[in-house]
């Protein structure tokens, strides 16, 4: 094994960063789709319909106990077969990134459903009742009063879930997706297995920077959205 080459280490950034947009696109689309699905599942769990409650609870149980890499393979190999056999739709020529997005969305919808559910439940029902009594409709009471408070509660857990999603998205290269990790993996292969330390170190640094950005923006959002709550904890003593 050749010694650690700082020059190679620097060159890795130039090799893998062009694929950062692929990684980011997969992450962003997965966050969007898993959030939408998560809302539907949380709604099912909180709703009054017994069928929906059972279905959504079952979904959360199954998906939460599936390892990401297992689900990734199941979706990649299983979904085309399933669709071909049941609906006669051929999706074998779909891009690999689509399978990754589907797998990550399915997986993180179950985590996010739990985040949304507990955030919603943390807002006292009295808030809704008070809104109804000043003439708001159920929907207005939800999006003007309950939702803004639930978002503030959900934000730290949401950021944690997104962090987990980003890390799991790094697994996508196992089905041959050419994202940032895939580019790094190719680079190592091209060097016959040499310089893997430099490559992975460079990748780790890129992920660290990614995380700092996410952490800081979550903190900023929390502060910005949670006016009523955060200011209170600081200046309550002054007023009272």
């Amino acid at each position: 094994m050749p010694p650690f080459s700082f020059k190679f280490f620097l060159s890795v950034f130039g090799q893998v960063l062009p694929y950062l947009p692929v990684t980011l696109l997969i992450i962003i689309l997965s966050i969007i789709f898993s959030s939408l699905l998560g809302v539907i599942i949380a709604r099912g769990q909180l709703g009054s319909s017994k069928v929906w409650r059972t279905v959504s609870q079952g979904y959360v149980f199954v998906l939460r106990s599936t390892p990401p890499i297992v689900l990734l393979f199941l979706v990649f190999y299983g979904l085309p077969k399933l669709l071909l056999l049941s609906l006669n739709i051929n999706i074998n020529d779909w891009q690999k990134s689509i399978f990754v997005i589907i797998a990550l969305s399915l997986l993180f919808a179950s985590n996010l459903a739990e985040v949304f559910k507990s955030a919603y439940l943390s807002v006292n029902t009295g808030q809704r009742e008070a809104a109804l009594m000043v003439g708001l409709s159920e929907w207005q009471a939800f999006y003007r009063i309950t939702l803004p408070q639930a978002i503030v509660v959900a934000l730290p857990n949401f950021a944690n879930t997104v962090a987990a999603l980003i890390k799991d998205a790094a697994l996508a290269y196992v089905i041959g997706l050419l994202d940032m990790m895939g580019a790094g993996d190719n680079l190592i292969s091209r060097n016959f297995g040499h310089h893997s330390l430099e490559t992975y170190l460079a990748l780790a640094i890129i992920y660290w920077i990614l995380f700092v950005i996410i952490e800081q923006s979550a903190k900023y959002l929390e502060k910005y959205l949670g006016k009523g709550h955060t200011i209170a904890s600081k200046s309550a003593e002054v007023v009272a």
Partner: protein, 260 residues
């Protein structure tokens, strides 16, 4: 103005309200008393359909609602005539004091923004909190929060205000200010139903006192006869059980408020 007939409510097998009849006239302040578990709060929340009753008839002016067949639009129409003050305030935690008052005016009642601001400011002034307009609920003391709660209900100018134990969650020294605000509303001729444990307040402010026990109205009368000449054994027992100390204490808090 408001007439309720045979209001019933069951939780599982337990019958909480066994048929309440009550009548409230324009300008009346009705104090609803009774031991805990007698169903006072359940009844008040039932009137506003927050926890709907099982059966009975509510007549409000020309609107007659059969509880069993009430539609969402019936309920909405009824609620527009009502203001509700909650035991634990339920101020919108994500809005400032003045936004709490404006919310119902702008969104619920389609009042223009400048007009809503004017009315909300006036409502806060009335409860003595205009300088707290831009404070969030978490920055207010319990007494201040409840006064904002009352301002929020009163600003919509409802025909009746329902107050559910408005001072029960407050520290004793904050009770007086809130009672004072309620008394002001009474003096203005507001119609109100107040569920309360403040005997001195009920005696002084109410036009009618209703005593509930075990899901039934046991006795109702104008305050002087109610307290000085209780008829039913159950009410006699209730009044004697509220210890002399307690009454003296409440009176003290209340008189302090009146003297201000």
């Amino acid at each position: 103005m408001l007439k309720v007939r045979n209001f019933k409510k069951k939780y599982h097998q337990h019958e909480v309200l066994k048929g309440i009849d009550i009548e409230v006239n324009q300008g009346d302040v009705v104090a609803l008393l009774g031991p805990s578990g007698s169903g006072k709060t359940t009844f008040l929340r039932g009137l506003a359909f927050l926890t709907p009753g099982d059966s009975g008839v509510i007549t409000f002016d020309d609107q007659k609602i059969n509880i069993e067949s009430a539609t969402p639009s019936d309920i909405k129409k009824l609620r527009r005539k009502m203001g509700f003050v909650f035991q634990n305030f339920n101020l919108f935690a994500n809005k400032t004091a003045i936004q709490n008052v404006e919310e119902g005016l702008i969104i619920g009642h389609k009042v223009s923004k400048p007009e809503a601001k004017r009315r909300a400011t006036e409502a806060l002034k009335k409860v003595g909190l205009q300088q707290y307009a831009n404070h969030y609920p978490s920055q207010l003391s319990g007494g201040q929060a409840q006064r904002v709660g009352i301002a929020r209900a009163a600003a919509l100018n409802p025909e009746i205000i329902l107050l559910d134990e408005p001072t029960s969650a407050l520290d004793p020294e904050l009770v007086a200010d809130v009672l004072q605000v309620i008394k002001h509303l009474a003096d203005e001729g507001k119609t109100m139903i107040v569920v309360t444990h403040e005997m001195a307040f009920a005696r002084d402010v109410a036009d009618k006192v209703v005593f509930m026990d075990k899901g039934l109205v046991v006795e109702q009368n104008e305050p002087t006869s109610f307290f000085d000449d209780p008829k039913s054994p159950r009410l006699k027992e209730f009044l004697s059980r509220i210890s002399a100390v307690n009454v003296a204490d409440n009176s003290f808090e209340y008189e302090k408020a009146v003297q201000k």
